[in-house]
Point group: D2
Chain length 365, copies 4
């Protein structure tokens, strides 16, 4: 089983380097009969796209998805869906001077030691360019989840360096380039980022994703748990250094009487669990959070070595995001959606015959 | 592929319920020729065992491992290694009154909705009893890693509720029932836990695991990354709500100039990355942290519903740990070791021919 | 994923050596709610058992299955079902003299070269003893297929050396130790086998398995085809050297006008396809055949080498079947049943929503 | 894990329909450093290509492979290798009249029942067009096997309807459009095929593949055996109805004294086993044979039903091969090569440390 594949029944295989001819993916296992057209991918790809604002990399690509297979007369057929995006804005010369030196904090050194050679152009396979195909695959999962189960998956930027939202409004999230839920703070973020960019440095971020209306029962103990697979999916995103479900690390200092979510026939009274108990969804909203590190591609010189082990200084030129977390929201949404759809199919396989045994408790009273 | 299996080349399949006849596992893919005997499992199983101190569940079992297959004349043969432990201290009557009511914060409700029936005795499959077999399987991985690659995997309790160690000493860790690295604080922990237990409540914890001497090159981008698989492995442990690699969530508010680990020919100058870049080990120490929630098995009554959806109050009787995190250290170590051994084998498969291309940078100067 | 595991959603992992303490398996993915008890395994294990007649190995074991997990109050719970059988009739001394010499036609030499060591007692892991657990796991699949889909899987011995049945009667199959469908020939087989056994030689056999009432739609193109997975499953049985679906090798000299199965609303007019087209079941009966080689464990001396590469003569002592094909019928049935159940679950996962689009054509007019 | 993927460590995922925009594959797990260029694919694709002679379908495509990823400066990088071939000679109108009727002996009916809809153009996903990508992927495996292990994989047409070669000469195989090893018979085959084509009928065939110089030790008991995986790989090829290893079904009537391959220090004295014992290679040549059915796409009308279950007559127009077996030789070679390379990598993972314990016996004296 390919290490560039993800998912057991809804299986996504991605390929492509940042500056190769194309990137793409194969999505296998999607049920037949789902309406799907190239334009369905536009919104999420645009949300992820570079060039959306001055706060992200200025690489500009249209990122038009070509559907190569698996769709006939506008409907999925049950055969593998291959999606292709041509790379059109490569500037490989930008990377010539790092071909022989390892940027600190980057995958240069680890790739080199693993494979004995590497494609240095734009980070090659380790580039965030690969996440484009996650977003594309995630579009299919989001559509199926919404249409088949009424599940809605959406995320927001929950922290940018030291800044956290003072208010929360879903409507605000899509109306600013940060996916920030507090419209009143957007100007502050803009100026904060301008200052950061001028300093040549970068900063970390936190992204949250919420899935609403997930039915109870999704997730496969013990090693295919819903939260375990969310953790794998989210940790595989570039720059992610931490994953939380529900209260996450805050649970370390909580008491059991505080953390456990009490239940009434009218609904769960809280959601510290983040919608997962024993690795299986409870019917509460599923909440996942990720920590994204500050990118190592900064203008401030850093000490490193070259391929011969000699000391060198490295400055990262090229086009880079001072906060990779800004564009991570649609990527994280996609991974959550892919995991949920995979689990939904797995649940149907094993437990498709199980009759409802007990009234379903609402997510909230 | 079984959802009760873990690992691609070193594959562990566990089975068994808390109060069934036995628990066990099958470890497949271990190279032949590794010396292995039943007594090799004793130390780690004792470290994990219930009954080690008054701060953990009073269930008492000898947990003697029987090797059913895969070992001949004291050496692994390359065929699957089956390990079996009989359950000997079941008290199923303790659980009779929760057969029809869902303990809040437990997997009762989610299992019931998934499968339409469940084994309520001691939590059945969702019990932490299953982690015994992770520890047993981990023993094999630890031995192989140590003997073949000189890799050492060990962990400690890094936070207990509000308490954090004021000092760090590896020697202290194994000399108290908490795996606490600060010997001077052990008395404080004892009295803190006594008070907690008397209150009938529980508390969360943080466990760290460090793997030293991991060579660069282990980990398979993009969906078999070392950190991604660590996240999956660790999040699958009962009660875990968060996973961090290296600085984890602290990276959210860091700058790139601070986070990136600069490199000199004499060694890496820091380890914010936790030993993983681009999903591949760097030769730095691999550091993973987990957040464990406070167990929901407490003596303080909580609101819930029964199988008919009627409101009930639940008090958890039976034997329970007021802090499940205390016993989590050997479990987390085992999962890290299993992931590392699996990745070592995968690396050898694909890159076993790669000649050393560049001097290996020491973990520290 | 373990190489000792079989199946994607219904996953079977077996372990154990011929003369180790026990053999066993873990069956994962079985839907919850299936009635299952230790006595359900008796009939098929007895059908496979050594010692059923004088024509098979005289190793005598009761082969009582212990259910270690996954069943609660007589019903499967959806968690992994572990089955264990203790080995009780080992006579390891029989094998002492072959520990250092490779029996020609056996796995001795190939195991030794692969692993660098091996358990020589009774063939170790390569013994047909392992197939006991296939039969046990197959019992679960047969029960589920019968109860959930009305599918019936049964086989017969279709050729024994030069002998083929002159008549076919399902009732006869279970009434003789050969699974032979022609009662009138049983005496002839008995004397033929007596003569063979006295000659110290062995002979090959062909076993057929038929699955009736399989609905159309099972099987996953392109690399999870029903016939592809049947081939993998059946070829993995000890001594199998060939697999056919439907007409198999007879199709080589057929014309298309003869081979294609014409269809009428009243039913398929023939079944050359063996119930599979494009890797998907058609609703015709699924027919699979296997060729079993003559066992290499014979009393006639053969040339070989020892572990030092020196020439030696080998005579196989111990208890052996002069025709391993005689006991293969329940094993082949089990593998077919396991593949079908796995495919049924996979079909439900992806296509559980597909409405019947077209009248189902009966298997026969 | 995708059902359109094949292989555990060398993993091939194919996609594409006969008359969609393109077909392609993703090959993951190839070791880094293998030289690979688009022109390397030409020879085998030409060998498989339609239009090679008047005896195969007249669909004409150049089948130029584009390497989309995984190769940098002419060498594989260890990242997934995506290969793309545009479909350029679709004539979808040929298939309009079979959109609503099921061709007997084709996958039309089974696909329709499985998915509820299908792409009828040229058979969609069930077309032999998919095998183009197997051949392309196989090129990579053949190159690696040859360069790394000196293994050579090549095949021939061993039977065409009633005709079998009277002589065997490797040189002849590549010098006629049938891959026929007996040059003296080629004229006879030509006239036989001309007559068949005029009759509007089709015929079956047998293809053999031989892999020379395979070292002992490849193959993973019990469910990842070399022969089991060969069977799965070969049975997944369109039109294949049977698979044999070594003597295959001939073993049914053999004696053990005849079948077992005796061993001398100078070499194996025979090769009835086809190079595999206990699922592991022995160092003998690996021999696999397949039976291909006569295609159901013939000009002779056949009875069938349409999507409404009504009786119809079907004549297959369009471009079709009267003997699909003629072009199957490179496809079968590719599958054998892919299985062998996968097993080589798996063997290295688990047993890469095993020291040679015993002299290797030559394949032949």
């Amino acid at each position: 089983m390919s290490s560039n594949s993800f998912g057991k029944l809804l299986s996504v295989t991605t390929f492509g380097e940042s500056h190769g001819p194309a990137i793409g993916c194969v999505v296998d296992g999607c049920p037949p009969g789902l309406a799907l057209a190239p334009e369905d991918f536009r919104n999420d790809l645009e949300r992820r796209a570079t060039g959306r604002s001055r706060h992200t990399s200025q690489r500009r690509e249209t990122d038009e998805v070509e559907i190569l297979s698996g769709v006939y007369e506008g409907l999925t057929t049950g055969t593998p869906i291959a999606l292709l995006i041509r790379n059109t804005d490569q500037r490989s010369k930008d990377y010539a001077d790092i071909a022989e030196r390892f940027r600190p904090g980057h995958a240069d050194y680890s790739y080199w030691h693993k494979y004995g050679l590497r494609d240095p152009r734009g980070g090659g396979r380790s580039s965030a360019r690969e996440t484009t195909m996650r977003v594309a695959a995630g579009v299919i999962a989001k559509r199926w989840l919404q249409q088949r189960h009424g599940v809605r998956v959406r995320g927001w930027l929950a922290q940018l360096g030291p800044l956290t939202p003072a208010a929360f409004d879903w409507d605000a999230v899509e109306q600013n380039p940060f996916f920030w839920p507090d419209a009143a703070m957007v100007a502050e973020l803009e100026s904060w980022m301008d200052k950061l960019r001028k300093s040549g440095d970068s900063v970390g971020a936190r992204v949250n994703v919420l899935a609403e209306n997930v039915p109870p029962g999704w997730g496969e103990p013990i090693y295919g748990k819903l939260d375990g697979e969310l953790a794998a999916a989210l940790m595989s995103i570039n720059a992610v250094k931490g994953v939380e479900i529900g209260d996450g690390f805050a649970a370390v200092s909580q008491r059991g009487s505080e953390h456990r979510d009490e239940i009434t026939p009218q609904g769960f009274l809280s959601n510290h669990a983040g919608g997962v108990l024993g690795g299986i969804s409870t019917g509460q909203d599923v909440l996942a959070s990720i920590a994204l590190k500050p990118t190592s591609s900064i203008l401030i010189p850093g000490r490193s070595v070259n391929v011969r082990g000699e000391p060198v200084d490295v400055v990262t030129k090229g086009r880079h995001d001072p906060c990779v977390g800004i564009r991570a929201t649609p990527i994280a949404e996609a991974m959550v959606a892919l995991v949920l759809m995979d689990q939904a199919l797995r649940h149907r396989a094993q437990c498709g015959d199980v009759a409802a045994v007990t009234p379903r408790i609402p997510a909230k009273p």
